[in-house]
Symmetry: C2
Subunit: 328 residues, 2 copies
């Protein structure tokens, strides 16, 4: 079996042809068209699907369906998202699954992006064969995927897994969601950059290689610059990464105490920093966990990298999850 | 079907004969014998069971098994707890299930007390007919029961549900478990008493009825005194209860964001304060929750009160959960 997997993000639309064994052919990244509005996103989804179907024909393989990973909460009877995805204006209310079906007459599946990624890691990546798993995706925010007894858990109305909005410093910074002290404020990209800026302001920046890399402009700072400098042994960068690791460990620790999982998968764009990020978390995790649950929980990096969403979206087709309800 | 339900606590041992419809006959509270050591606890469990079996005989009803709710993590093949319950010295390693079996030759079931209480509330109390439920038991600590798709979730190795050790103020008070800022430090009995003391010290105590009730001695303060005074309209007590409600709402809010449950059951000794406690939580819950999950989650008081553990323990028999493995 093969599927087309599409992974819609605020900036990029990723896609590929994925085999049931998890191999990805023709992996493609294009602009998502989010700034131009939902019609443009739809057009891009259709165009990319058409290209992949043509390629599949040339390769002599059949496509069993199209899977889409998107921010927000999918309602398969509506055919689009009915909640979340506030950073994709107009996307709520766009029945993109129906459009894709009308265009290609193939089974259309869709799910929340972090959920799809969790499914992908469970089938082909870091979570293979595991039953009780938490995936934490660190990026613009912090998304969560919850696996209980081998099954995805999305909550009672599909809004579960909002681990980034767990208050870890109830007297701390206020999140854009309105809650004070959300984990996101400390361990997402903006959390990392704030931590870094705080250190840079009070430290002697001139001695750090960060200074050169960002050309003396704090607004040029990115998590990549930070982790690169730390990997090169820069003292200030190492201090910042240490604090980032601790802030990340607080939330992971809470989840370990609550869920007693066998596995925590650290994913998302920030996790592409690799071992240096993972080790900074592991160094502090004993501070935030009870021994019995800590001993039971492995903490690992996600394995599928930038293709995780595409593989996860295709997995929706293979597992027949969230298929468009055709009674419309 | 009828069962004997036993609920072991650090201070009291509760017991009763429970029908499959959830009716409790001969509800009894005696000292647990914890200070005298595990042999005494065992003796009390056997004695109370014998009394109930005799009563059942007199009542002309048959007993299908004995259920025990206890602190700690049960291993039914060992026949006792293999972890947790640090405040019951010697209890870990005591195969009380085997002793009960050898004495009475009846099916013996046992489970963690908060888990048993959750099961009881699910079958007969506030959680009837619900599928996705979090029970939070507020007492000496904060215990958690997790119900996913109608089934108890205990974690990968049985240590799940340690919601009291979720850090909500990562720079706050250090918990006895070693973690800084545990929810327990703010919303268990000791958390409530600390909050109350902080207010009393900085406030003009003389004007408060708390002052009279505790006979001018801060060590006489209990949650009951506090909630009673608040119910009578005492200004200081109301201020304290307001802060307690907020501290309680932080953790409940986190759980709502993570689990998107349909129901949160507020239980444990503190919840016996009733509506005034519940309302103080509800007043603040909007500060700590995302709207979609907040709208989906009802927050209610536990219904089974002081008999919850006894009913829950009996439910283990009725549902054939955690039965002693007789291959010994």
């Amino acid at each position: 079996m093969n599927a087309i997997g599409l992974d819609l993000g605020g900036t990029n639309l990723k896609g590929g042809i994925v085999s049931e064994e998890g191999e990805v052919y023709r992996f493609t990244i294009t602009p998502s068209g989010v700034p131009e509005g939902p019609e443009k996103i739809l057009e891009n989804l259709v165009t990319l699907s058409r290209i992949f179907l043509k390629k599949a024909g040339e390769m002599g393989i059949s496509i069993s369906g199209i899977g889409v990973a998107t921010p927000g909460i999918i309602d398969p009877s509506f055919g689009g998202i009915t909640g979340g995805a506030d950073n994709l204006p107009g996307w709520r209310g766009t029945a993109f699954m129906k459009t894709l079906y009308q265009e290609f007459k193939l089974p259309i599946h869709a799910h929340n992006d972090v959920t799809a990624i969790t499914l992908g890691e469970l089938r082909y990546g870091a979570g293979k064969g595991k039953k009780n798993v938490i995936l934490a995706a660190f990026g613009t925010g912090i998304g969560g995927g919850i696996v209980i007894d081998g099954k995805l858990y999305g909550g009672h109305t599909g809004y579960g897994g909002e681990i980034g909005h767990m208050a870890i410093r109830a007297d701390g910074y206020r999140c854009s969601c309105g809650i004070r002290g959300c984990w996101e404020e400390y361990a997402s990209i903006r959390g990392i950059l704030r931590t870094a800026r705080d250190h840079i302001i009070k430290d002697n920046l001139k001695e750090s290689t960060i200074y050169i890399k960002i050309n003396n402009k704090i607004e040029n700072l990115t998590p990549k610059v930070l982790f690169d400098s730390a990997r090169e042994g820069d003292r200030l960068a190492l201090q910042i990464v240490d604090e980032v690791g601790n802030n990340t460990a607080i939330g992971i620790g809470n989840l370990i105490n609550i869920f007693n999982p066998e596995l925590v998968i650290v994913g998302g764009g920030i996790a592409l920093a690799g071992e240096i990020f993972l080790e900074s978390i592991k160094k502090h995790i004993h501070l935030w966990t009870l021994k019995d649950s800590r001993d039971a929980a492995e903490i690992v990096l996600a394995k599928l990298g930038e293709k995780a969403g595409v593989v996860g979206a295709s997995s929706l087709v293979f597992e027949n999850i969230n298929r468009l309800n055709l009674e419309f």
